[in-house]
């Protein structure tokens, strides 16, 4: 897919960067087209869809998911995964809300944002520690941390919850506030998308993430500091989840021990449907946003057409499978020559410490 392009220096012009290799351009534009079509059809046929309140609700909900999905996308690009984002979000939501309660004045928002990013980052580092120091596969490591962090979340909530009255005004008002006519949530999501997108495309860290995802063995030979990058990318993912937690407080007011539960599948589905390949090595922040938007829209349409509220999980599950299958089939046509090379490297080289995520051979330590 973008194996070749990820190992070459980033092209100069921004346009060329966005519409990189041929395949990339095709899949993202087609997704955008799909979203436009779906929106148009829904707006035309469903009266409830085209109301301003529905749109604003939809976009705000999507924004929250998109932010966490952007972080998840970073891990998926590196051929890892993080199942614990929901719990990280929940812990941060409660603790940040609780802490900023005691801080007044303009220092409040600063501390709030900084704390949510930092706390989320630290929790993400916990994931990376297990994967690096104990050489656990990401799926199992984050499965374990999911249960541990959920337990911590419940412990932290201490049988009660964070009440709206304890949430500082600036935070509770964030949801309804607008900057230049656009909801703050959307602004935050866009800023995250641009920042993380920039990090992925233009920094050494970003290039290493793509290298790790495309071909972990080759990445080692190329001098990528695998261990450092692992810690960094999980910290980034955790930080995004933490930021999502801050917005969660604003959206729901009350924070109890169920905050963020059930979000894990949604976030992964959003990233995958949006074009981040679970094979690793391709995708960007805007893919996560597009995916969140499309899935959110479809969910909204299902609700409005009175198809069961219970269709959500089925939708996400099927979406993941279909997206993976489609991208695999399409990418295989472009990838074949590169894959043979990679296979040769794999049989010669060292281990892939990531069980279950690779499709090329089962080489192990």
């Amino acid at each position: 897919m973008s194996t070749v392009s990820s190992l070459t220096p980033a092209p100069a012009s921004a346009l060329k960067r966005v519409f990189g290799s041929g395949f990339f351009k095709r899949s993202d534009t087609s997704l955008l087209v799909l979203i436009v079509v779906v929106t148009a059809v829904a707006a035309a046929t469903l009266g409830d869809f085209r109301t301003i309140s529905n749109f604003s609700n939809l976009l705000n909900t999507v924004a929250l998911i998109a932010i966490v999905a952007i972080g998840e996308a970073v891990t998926i690009i590196a051929r890892q995964i993080d199942l614990s984002v929901g719990a990280i979000l929940g812990i941060c939501a409660y603790l940040v809300g609780e802490t900023t309660h005691h801080i007044s004045g303009p220092l409040g928002p600063v501390v709030g944002v900084a704390m949510s990013l930092a706390l989320g980052g630290v929790l993400g580092l916990g994931n990376a520690l297990l994967i690096d120091a104990l050489k656990m596969p990401a799926i199992i490591a984050t499965l374990a941390t999911l249960s541990i962090y959920t337990g911590v979340q419940i412990f932290v909530n201490n049988g009660s919850q964070l009440y709206l009255t304890q949430v500082p005004k600036w935070l509770s008002g964030l949801r309804g506030a607008t900057w230049f006519g656009i909801s703050t949530f959307i602004w935050v999501a866009v800023i995250c998308m641009l920042v993380v997108g920039f990090i992925l495309r233009r920094t050494r860290f970003g290039r290493d993430v793509y290298a790790l995802g495309s071909n972990p063995e080759a990445a080692i030979y190329l001098g990528v500091k695998v261990r450092l990058r692992t810690y960094q990318l999980f910290a980034l993912c955790g930080a995004m989840a933490g930021l999502g937690g801050l917005l969660y407080v604003s959206q729901f007011g009350n924070v109890d021990a169920t905050a963020g539960s059930g979000m894990n599948l949604t976030v992964i589905a959003a990233a995958v449907v949006g074009g981040v390949s679970l094979f690793g090595g391709s995708g960007n922040a805007y893919n996560a946003v597009l995916g969140a938007l499309l899935l959110g829209e479809i969910q909204n349409i299902l609700e409005l057409t009175r198809i069961s509220v219970f269709a959500e999980q089925t939708l996400q599950g099927v979406a993941i499978v279909v997206a993976v299958a489609v991208y695999a089939v399409v990418s295989r046509r472009l990838r074949r020559p590169v894959r043979r090379e990679a296979m040769a490297v794999a049989t010669m080289g060292a281990a892939t410490p990531l069980a279950g995520a690779t499709s090329e051979g089962g080489s192990h330590e």
Binding site: T150, A311, V321, H364
Partner: protein, 340 residues
């Protein structure tokens, strides 16, 4: 068989020691761990866990993974419950349910193997899809009346004894699976594929067929787990059993199956499942909160994966210290034999 004997001496004896330790400590701390009532309920609770773990083990041994087992469990449970609630013949309903479990496993197998998609991604998706379908069927409702056949299968004892029938059934399954994996060519293929898929392919093993079969086995065991769940708890609810995924994976890893595939034994998995059930029971008796118990399992999983590399490092260090040419040569030979 040699591998079996070899492994039994190592990892599994550690598990047996741990089980005895938990029993002694738990009994001393609470005094009720080993009462027949508690052992019975613990055994029944562990049945679902063990069933899932037995199905997961071959999949992980081939260095794949199957997250969708709890989705299959829920779907089969809901289908059987719904059918019997509407008057369908019990055995027919069970047959349909198990057939569905085979299909679920087959879908996983085909997608992962024939389409060559990453198992993680596919089974994450199918987990959502299968659970989702169970929600579509039953919405938020629960079914609580079941034919007595199902209830006795899941919760009654073998006539005249205090041993639950389901436990006996599971032991039989474990024995069969153990024979398949440790005593047949198919089993050898499973380990070979886990060791190195490429090498297995070049050795002429029908890699695709074996991998698909492991997914089908995992689906079938998940379906049986769903059926036993119905009998034990006498409830069918969409999304049931979702909390069993982590314990099942932990049981497999704790049982000595390497997360990267290629090694492990079924007796190990059985012992690990028993240990987990005992541990959960001991914690529950000691008034550990629900989340405390789940966290304990999470930590146990981490230790289970982290310990082998650490113990290997320790063994290597010890050997290096007492290095004479003979010892070193022996060390080299035995470490290559051990594999991991």
């Amino acid at each position: 068989m040699n591998r079996l004997r070899h492994a039994v001496v190592r990892w599994e004896s550690g598990l047996v020691l741990l089980i005895i330790l938990v029993m002694v400590l738990g009994q001393w701390a609470d005094g009720d761990l080993l009462s027949s009532f508690n052992l019975q309920t613990t055994a029944l609770n562990s049945v679902v866990l063990l069933c899932l773990a037995l199905g997961l083990a071959p999949v992980i041994m081939t260095s794949d993974i199957d997250l969708s087992v709890v989705g299959t469990l829920a779907l089969v449970g809901v289908v059987i419950g719904d059918l019997t609630a509407h008057g369908t013949n019990t055995w027919l309903a069970i047959g349909i349910g198990l057939a569905i479990s085979l299909v679920c496993g087959l879908i996983n197998g085909l997608l992962v193997v024939l389409f060559d998609l990453p198992a993680l991604a596919v089974t994450l998706g199918t987990m959502g899809a299968y659970t989702g379908v169970s929600f579509l069927i039953l919405k938020g409702l629960a079914i609580s009346t079941f034919p007595s056949v199902i209830v006795s299968m899941g919760s009654s004892n073998v006539t005249g004894t205090q041993i639950p029938f389901a436990v006996v059934l599971l032991i039989v399954f474990a024995a069969i699976l153990s024979f398949i994996l440790h005593g047949t060519v198919f089993g050898k293929s499973v380990f070979a594929i886990g060791g190195s898929r490429k090498a297995a392919l070049f050795s002429g093993i029908a890699v695709n067929r074996v991998r698909i079969t492991t997914f089908v086995i995992s689906g079938l065991m998940a379906g049986i787990a769903g059926l036993l769940f119905l009998g034990n708890y006498q409830t069918a609810q969409a999304g049931m059993g979702a909390s069993e995924l982590l314990p099942a994976v932990t049981a497999v890893i704790l049982g000595g199956v390497s997360a990267y595939g290629g090694t492990g034994t079924i007796p190990g998995v059985v012992l690990a499942a028993a240990l987990l059930a005992l541990l959960q029971s001991a914690l529950g008796l000691h008034n550990f909160s629900g989340e405390g118990q789940t966290m304990a399992i999470g930590f146990l999983l981490i230790i289970a994966i982290g310990l082998p590399p650490l113990s290997q490092k320790y063994k290597d260090w010890k050997r290096r210290r007492s290095a004479s040419p003979v010892t070193v040569a022996n060390a080299v030979l035995s470490s290559s034999e051990e594999g991991k």
